[in-house]
Symmetry: C2
DNA sequence: CGTCACAATATTGTTCAACAATTTACAAGT
DNA sequence: ACTTGTAAATTGTTGAACAATATTGTGACG
């Protein structure tokens, strides 16, 4: 069906989004329009539309007359993101209905993380962990919030990409996510929210430490 | 300084944003690229960049191959927006520090609303009310959240634009905002948050009723 | 060797014309 | 009134061009 077919600009945005999150286009890199348009086989005008999309998502930083750069997460980025996660994820989970359909997404993410950990696929574990947290936000039933949080997660993944030990960052949280889910299943949403809050504090501390080491 | 000068695309976006929020471009209206580009005296490519910006903000709705329309707020929009306001504004206020610099913004908005109410300028009262609520969100100290909420507010103003009695919607809240501020000043953030929560419930009810009357 | 000034080069922001693909509008036939 | 086909309009994209801006390179000077 043609009305489901993404436009070239949207396909290109998707492609660049992946290249950025996967570190192929590293933070700070300047994206020259002419060169990149040729590499991507699109026209400069199309690429400029794409830049608008990704800049708004926080993955690119636009400097007037000087070009567009892959965003470089700073400590302030991390502080803001974790502040937002506490402000949004924790109440969303505390007020959650245990039979909400997003709980199935949480469960799937927990299972996926366990599988990928067993295979040593830390990137995949990271993805599953982020999916778990997006599902927590989805408990709040707000499409606008889901979209907003998707962008926050993308920025956070960019920050993770700067660090060198994905195992250190993700491994402890696989079982913790399972604990959160078990609490929620047992009808103890407040208890689940407390575990989540602890997780956020600890995760933030570890990222901040890892950032301090590379700064 | 040239690096502070907004690009033509950004100026155009600002202009269209105002035209949408002010109802000059009413909800549902289709924006034909060729015509609008000529009207605005920009090229179609520039206008397409602008459309990307405003679509992402929720003010425009893009239908592939059919064009771009001014967004039409629905009941679902209102439900989502108020859900978000409760999720964000109420905790932001409950956890606020009474000496936070955003409190001065709240105060200024209360004074502005009173001035404009005395002049019968209900549009201005509405603007001041929304500024009051943006200042509440700013208490959370998150630039990402401020930006996100700015977009939510723009959508809400679009919804208000569909209704016919701005006085009914805004008048009761001028003094209530002053009450919220007084509570916060007195160090009773929790009490302020309770008043805010009541306001949100009532405001949502009134908008939903007004929507039901025009649907 | 470092700094400054200027010219050359590269790049961004924008415009315009063109074309293919898609949608819409209109006319004719049943 | 509905269907079909055609014409017209519009969107999505491309590429070339140009003005404005930024960057780079070179030469002169202290």
């Amino acid at each position: 069906m043609t009305d489901d077919a993404p436009s070239l600009a949207e396909e290109t945005a998707t492609r660049l989004r992946h290249d950025i999150i996967d570190g192929i286009l590293p933070p700070g890199q300047r994206l020259a329009e002419t060169r990149l348009a040729a590499d991507l086989n699109v026209s400069r005008n199309t690429l400029r539309e794409v830049f608008r999309l990704l800049t708004h998502e926080g993955l690119l930083r636009h400097e007037p007359n000087r070009g567009v750069f892959v965003a470089t997460p700073s400590m302030a980025t991390i502080v803001d993101i974790y502040r937002l996660r506490r402000l949004i994820e924790v109440p969303a989970l505390a007020q959650a209905w245990p039979r909400h359909e997003a709980v199935a997404r949480m469960r799937q993410a927990v299972e996926q993380a366990a599988r990928q950990q067993a295979e040593g696929d830390w990137r995949g574990v990271g993805s599953a962990n982020m999916e778990f947290h997006a599902a927590i936000v989805a408990l709040a039933d707000s499409p606008r919030l889901d979209t907003f949080f998707g962008q926050i997660i993308a920025e956070l993944r960019l920050a993770f990409g700067l660090l060198h030990s994905p195992e250190r960052l993700h491994a402890p949280y696989v079982t913790r996510n399972a604990d959160i889910l078990a609490r929620l299943d047992a009808g103890d949403a407040a208890g689940a929210a407390r575990i989540l809050s602890d997780y956020l504090d600890q995760s933030e501390r570890e990222i901040m430490q890892a950032f301090a080491r590379i700064a």
